[in-house]
Symmetry: C2
Subunit: 608 residues, 2 copies
């Protein structure tokens, strides 16, 4: 039943050899890996305006130089990540780069921030998209949380089906969004050029503004930079690309950078020229669209694709998180289960954990995840800074051909990323301080997990220890609860293993019972020794454990091994289990975990 | 840790032989078993007045003949249950009496209603008591639910400590309540006799009342009879009495009947003479107390003990429910676990289940359990009727000495109980219809459980089947995941059991891995056969199960038994388990429940 539901939802299992068919071509990769970055043009320009408007509408023209700053940072990041792709063609992005060049702890800081960040990406973008949809249909507004959770479950299922299938489905909305925005920008600029838009609407560039400060400009710049979250995703996901993976990834990265730059610049310029002031109720993109088209089909098309891409931005998290987790798990910093490919060859444990944790976040914040955005931006710029710095160290250390220009690119990226990170801490400390708490905790956990795996490895490795002493013989202890087929069955098995070293154990609660059972047993199995352990406190485990300890002490003197055979009858239907005292389960768990005893379960299947 | 908390809460375990010391003397038994019945005088008289006042204040005098009717019913019930106690000295009350005389289904109807009823008792009385307390301290009112739950947990813990200990603690409030009410009644009657109370206050007996009907009088009578809930408790709990149990139980029953009759009659009479009209805010008892004493110490003493006894009424449920459950479990209608005595010799499973279910009820009704009261009264009068009828049948069938008078007593009881039951269905159908839904469901469940136990018994009984074929030899399958100490350990054990029939099984996911492992194995264990099962779908269980099926088919031809030995390493700390793929757990569960294979777990304890 369960397995056929699973088949229906995620499809038939795939052979490991079918992995090649699950790789992405550039068109699909661009859609699936850039949805996060591209979606941020829907709110990035607005963030700049919100900071500037605090000084006055005359300050709006500053959005142009700030946008140029953001574009420079984008250029630096794109060029810089392009270099990372070719230097680390097996993926891993910021984590691998930082670890290999800066050391283990910077690597863990980068990896830990990104891991948390992808969970935030999913929660924040799905909540934002849901908000956009329910603003259009107010009657759904009170169901925000449940709608957001349904979207997460949907995207999770799609990703469990496999990366190509989700790409095929998700590519359309991403490209529609890009087309819609380019039409908007094109028509807007045409209107400006043809003089349909009055130049009176905006303050001219260079107008002096009272009260403007470097701090404010840097703050606006940092806010605008939040539009760049997601550009690192491609460098994490190189293994998902068709061969030659690094070349394809690099071209996809450049295409994404170009699209992002064009959209970002276009939106900022139109907002400036139209003299748009950010409002609480209507987004900047929505205002531009309304001024350009009025409330016609194009307007609603732009609004609809924007809402969709906000939700699909979550998908970038689903592509990057499991691959990052594989890298961390291979280095033994997180549980090994993240390295296992599921039925459809995706790293399903990573996908499921990401889905579950983002649902937890959505529930914890009741779908109001807006104030997680700065946290999420910091979580991206910390690894940006670390990976650029790592590349700088790499170039200085290795000095390959043309290293000076490479060094300049990465140094620029590192410095700007560092400034942006600091700006977040300086200007929005109340929203981002928690990074300083949870990053150390995560890194401590990473450390503990690694230590445990290493200790286990040491203990299991054959070379490290003297070989185990061979087992000379076996003593079998058989706890019995009555004279039944179940016991007969187990006894026959015990006799086949070690006919002369069987001790049946009976634990009576009452004295009368004790004598009666001993007599019955003598009649039934005169050859098998029976030990009765009277239990005045009505516990089975305590007297049994004590008895086993005694037997084991004697047995180990002559290298005999003690085996406890537990007869267990297995009812036909699952719910029947609650009708039976599952003493056998308890005894087994207790003996295995507390004592060094071999536990054999002899099942007796009931047929009715 | 857990076990020392348990020790602190419920005390040291007791030996089975200490059972005698856990029995109740009459004083304690009266307190613990009659709290439910006695507490109902706090609301029973009021119920009568509420029905009468609907016609007018002149109808109040009818409360006297109705009270006489209730007292007659009480007398019939007490005499009748006295006869039950001597006829069924091992307890079981209505369930046993109905089952033995009327047949299995009437027995189950009685048992099922009482089982549900005791849960209602606990929920309703604790909620009522909590309400009484929070009315005195209004700031606590919003915490009603949590306070009620704390009381349930407290009473549950007390009962887990054992019936004598809870009796010692709970006896005081019960006796204080009885004393307080008798002082109230005594002073009240003294005032009346000495002429301090104006006879003008009440309508004289016999005043004709317009609009009175037999239906209304019967309804008032049924409402008043709800004060009799709980009188059956003693007959269920005979095993808790000191020897000679039936005599002690019978005397306790008569003492309870006398107290109940005195208090009930006194309250009704004072309410009538004082001309008290039921009010929404103040209870009848509170009005009587205020008129008698004014708002002085005695008034608050009466209010306080009333609140306490309402909560303690729950304790009657704790005494009767586990014993009823034992009777049902012995007859295999409910899970066997209810027959097991806990550390302190109480039937702890029954006590815990009762506590949990009543907390569930309190939560489900958010502490507002008042409208469960009629349900609860019906749940008592159905078994009353059935057990009296059972006794009638018994007397007619057995005709012992003096059976005619016994027959008359039980017939009276049966008829009045039946009338009261019908009155509840006729006058409060909207509140009691659910009995007609859940009783059939419960009885169906009883039936299914019994059927399952009987089927299991049949299959386990030795006489019923041909003896099992002896096991001729063993084939051992050892799934291995690598070449480690864990595997070495299991292999040594396997060799000691059956050195020439061991098959090690390795499930590689990749072709390269397969060849490499085979080579390594040949070097390490050239004598042990290795089978590799390439798994293109990356599942371990599927190929392993198929292989085991094949081996088993061949083995069973020559009566060989297949044993799967599962190496399991056990980390030192519990949380480490999540860091390892618990494939061994999954394989074990799958094989035990799906296949007829013996599963042996060889633990390898890690030391770090």
């Amino acid at each position: 039943m369960l397995s056929s539901i699973k088949r229906f939802l995620i499809g038939r299992p795939l052979k490991s050899t079918e992995l090649g068919e699950q790789k992405l071509n550039k068109t699909k990769a661009l859609a699936i890996l850039s949805s996060d970055a591209l979606s941020s043009v829907a709110y990035g320009p607005e963030q700049i305006l919100i900071v500037l408007i605090a000084v006055g509408t005359t300050a709006i023209w500053y959005s142009l130089p700030i946008a140029i700053g953001v574009l420079v940072l984008l250029l630096a990041l794109i060029l810089s990540y392009r270099q990372i792709i070719f230097s680390y063609p097996h993926g891993g992005g910021a984590y691998v780069v930082s670890k290999e060049n800066l050391g283990i702890y910077p690597g863990l800081i980068a990896g830990g921030s990104l891991l948390v960040d992808y969970i935030l990406t999913v929660a924040v973008s799905v909540s934002a998209g849901t908000d956009a949809i329910t603003s259009a249909f107010p009657s759904l507004h009170s169901h925000n949380v449940i709608i957001a959770i349904i979207f997460v479950v949907f995207i999770t299922t799609l990703n469990l089906r496999g990366v190509t299938e989700s790409a095929s489905i998700l590519a359309y909305p991403v490209y529609l969004f890009v087309i819609a925005l380019f039409i908007l920008i094109g028509v807007g600029i045409y209107n400006i050029v043809t003089g349909h838009i009055s130049p009176e609407l905006h303050t001219p560039i260079g107008t002096p503004v009272a009260g403007i400060s470097l701090f404010l400009l840097l703050r606006a710049f940092a806010s605008g930079s939040s539009a760049l979250t997601g550009v690192e995703a491609i460098s994490n996901a190189i293994p998902n690309f068709k061969d030659p993976a690094p070349n394809n990834a690099s071209r996809t990265l450049i295409a994404m950078g170009t699209l992002l730059a064009g959209l970002f610049a276009g939106i900022v310029y139109l907002a400036f020229y139209y003299g748009i002031v950010p409002a609480a109720e209507v987004t900047v993109v929505s205002q531009i669209a309304e001024q350009t088209f009025g409330r016609n089909f194009m307007y609603f098309f732009i609004q609809g694709t924007t809402a969709l891409i906000l939700i699909l931005a979550a998908n970038t998290g689903y592509s990057a998180f499991p691959l990052l987790a594989v890298n961390l798990a291979k280095d033994k910093f997180i549980p090994r289960m993240f390295t296992i490919r599921g039925d459809r060859l995706g790293y399903s444990n990573g996908i499921i954990i990401l889905g579950v944790l983002s649902i937890v976040l959505i529930l914890a914040f009741e779908g109001k995840t807006e104030h997680l955005i700065p946290l999420y931006a910091v979580g991206v710029f910390i690894p940006f800074t670390l990976s650029q710095t790592g590349m700088v160290v790499k170039w200085i250390r290795e000095k390959p051909k043309g290293w000076i220009s490479k060094l300049i690119i990465n140094t620029t990226g590192a410095v700007i990323s560092f400034i942006v990170t600091m700006m977040f801490f300086l200007t929005k400390f109340s929203q981002v301080w928690s990074v300083l708490v949870f990053l150390p905790i995560i890194i401590y956990l990473f450390h503990r997990i690694r230590k445990h795996y290493e200790a286990v490895g040491d203990q299991l490795r054959l070379a490290n220890r003297v070989p185990a002493v061979p087992v000379e013989g076996n003593v079998i202890i058989l706890p019995v609860a009555g004279i039944t087929h179940v016991v007969e069955n187990s006894l026959n098995y015990a006799k086949s293993l070690s006919p002369h070293q069987i001790i049946a154990v009976y634990v009576p609660f009452e004295r009368e019972d004790e004598a009666m059972f001993e007599e019955k047993w003598k009649k039934w199995q005169p050859d098998v020794r029976l030990v009765t352990l009277h239990s005045p406190y009505r516990s089975i485990i305590n007297p049994l454990t004590k008895f086993i300890d005694t037997v084991q002490r004697k047995a180990s003197e002559s290298n005999y091994q003690v085996t406890v055979i537990i007869p267990q009858f297995i009812p036909k239907k699952g719910w029947h289990n609650i009708l039976h005292n599952q003493s056998s389960l308890l005894i087994r768990a207790h003996l295995l975990y507390r004592r060094n005893v071999i536990v054999t379960t002899v099942p007796y299947h009931l047929t009715e």
